[in-house]
Amino acid sequence: MKFGDAGSSWSKLFTVGDDSVKIVSTRELVAGDFRFDWGTGHTARNRSERFENDLIALSSGALALVDDDDFTVLDLGSRDAKLVAFAGRRPVKLDWSVGCASATGATLEMLGKFYDIDWDAIEVEDKWTPVTCGTYAIERIMDQVSAGESATKAIGRFVHGLARNCFDFAGKPDKLYLSGGFTLNRPFAKVLRRYTEVVLMGRTVPLAGLWSLARDENPEIGQIPKVLLEKVTE
């Protein structure tokens, strides 16, 4: 049985019996003949026998992985941000910011490549760049760099602005479970912790959700494999 979470830039694939999650670029996925038994993420829609929308996969995964009654999980990937807040393990807030691609991972990835950034060298300070629109933010970074500022500092302020936005988008919770590619971005996690307690869930929460949904229909597939439950090691 094959599970796939096909995002805008990266796709996460898992086949029953594997001991790791395979990560391929979505370009590669689109060019190939990948098919899933259970899929999520818009690129998986036409490649899956069973398709679950991103919020359902994320929520199911979060419920399987988190024991708290009341909690908030934010999935931040390359294109969009998805949010689910639970009270009494029932969803009370579901949100999905699809429109503004420029404020999330893809922009950061492009900036990193453009300035050849070592993410561990990013300096996060008290100042931040407002990220009302990523295009303006990029313009500001470029202005700062051309005025003599270091790219690591300028991008650090952008990352800080992004973390503030995410904190606001999540409803300013005391604790935030973070899912998606951004869990691997250390400066982002570090600056987000200025605002709230952060638990890094890694990139496999939606896959765990798909497994959980598949198990509801067919209990014989058993418990969620350990590899889908592993949080990010810090």
């Binding site: 359902i56 029932r90 969803p91 009370v92 579901l94």
Partner: protein
């Protein structure tokens, strides 16, 4: 009184004039218009018929009110008169739209206020099992064509325990309702219409505790204030939709329905 179920284009190219209406005007005003115009049929101007944009209403405005104005302007001389709900049972925009339509088209606009019946009727369609879209559309039709005794019997027999709730006005786009299961009960203004009290704020804000409810508001509608407040108070989900139903909004509703189902 009879409802005209033709499309806007069919009426424009046809030979018969209609009586336009919006909201839920009082029965006596509708009857009076029907008598004055020899039993002409009624046409619901709230509904989206893809009328040409008149530009009379700003883009950032409630789509239902835009429907009312654009439909009336598109029909122009094909309307005998418009029976317009303009009181607290509709909204301020209903009152303003009445003025706009009268000035732009020159058509007579009968300005009405619906105080509602003394005792609320039974919420038959709101609590019966079946397609939510069909039930809500039929509820709106009852303003002109009340349920027949057969329909009342059927709706009573089909009453179900709810797994979910929908609160609000009939939405634009109406396809929002296709996302809900057949066991969805209806609350808010739509329920008030079925119960004959469209201006009853107490009835409009009454929802059962514990039932997962989607509180819908049309983009730029003042009722969004109620929807947001009630969603927070009753741990439901507030959804605000303007012109189109985005994939994200669909996903939110689908996820809320799937994850919060009350098992019956």
């Amino acid at each position: 009184m009879l409802l005209n179920r033709k499309t806007l284009s069919e009426i424009i190219v046809g030979n018969h004039k209609v009586i336009g209406f919006w909201g839920a005007p009082p029965g006596r005003d509708l009857e009076e218009a029907s008598q004055r115009f020899d039993g002409a049929t009624f046409f619901d101007l709230d509904v989206f018929y893809d009328a040409k944009k008149s530009g009379a209403v700003p883009d950032a405005f409630c789509h239902i009110i835009r429907n009312c104005v654009d439909n009336a302007i598109a029909l122009g001389g094909r309307i005998h008169c418009v029976v317009a709900a303009t009181g607290p049972e509709k909204c301020d925009a209903g009152r303003f739209a009445a003025r706009l339509v009268e000035e732009i088209t020159g058509v007579e606009v009968v300005v009405t206020v619906n105080e509602g019946r003394k005792d609320p009727g039974a919420p038959l369609l709101c609590e019966s099992r079946g397609s939510l879209k069909k039930r809500i559309v039929r509820t709106m039709e009852t303003i002109i064509e009340p349920l027949t005794s057969d329909e009342q019997r059927r709706a009573t027999a089909d009453r179900c325990e709810p797994t979910h709730g929908f609160w609000g006005t009939p939405p634009h786009p109406i396809e929002v309702l296709d996302l809900f299961p057949e066991t969805t009960h209806v609350f808010g203004w739509t329920r008030c219409v079925e119960q004959g009290r469209p201006a009853d704020l107490d009835l409009e804000t009454a929802v059962p505790d514990g039932l997962p409810i989607v509180f819908f508001s049309q983009g730029f509608c003042a009722k969004s204030m109620l929807a947001k407040h009630l969603a927070h108070k009753h741990r439901g989900m507030h959804v605000d939709v303007h012109d189109t139903l985005s994939a994200a909004t669909m996903a939110k509703i689908e996820a809320f329905i799937r994850l919060s189902e009350v098992k019956t």
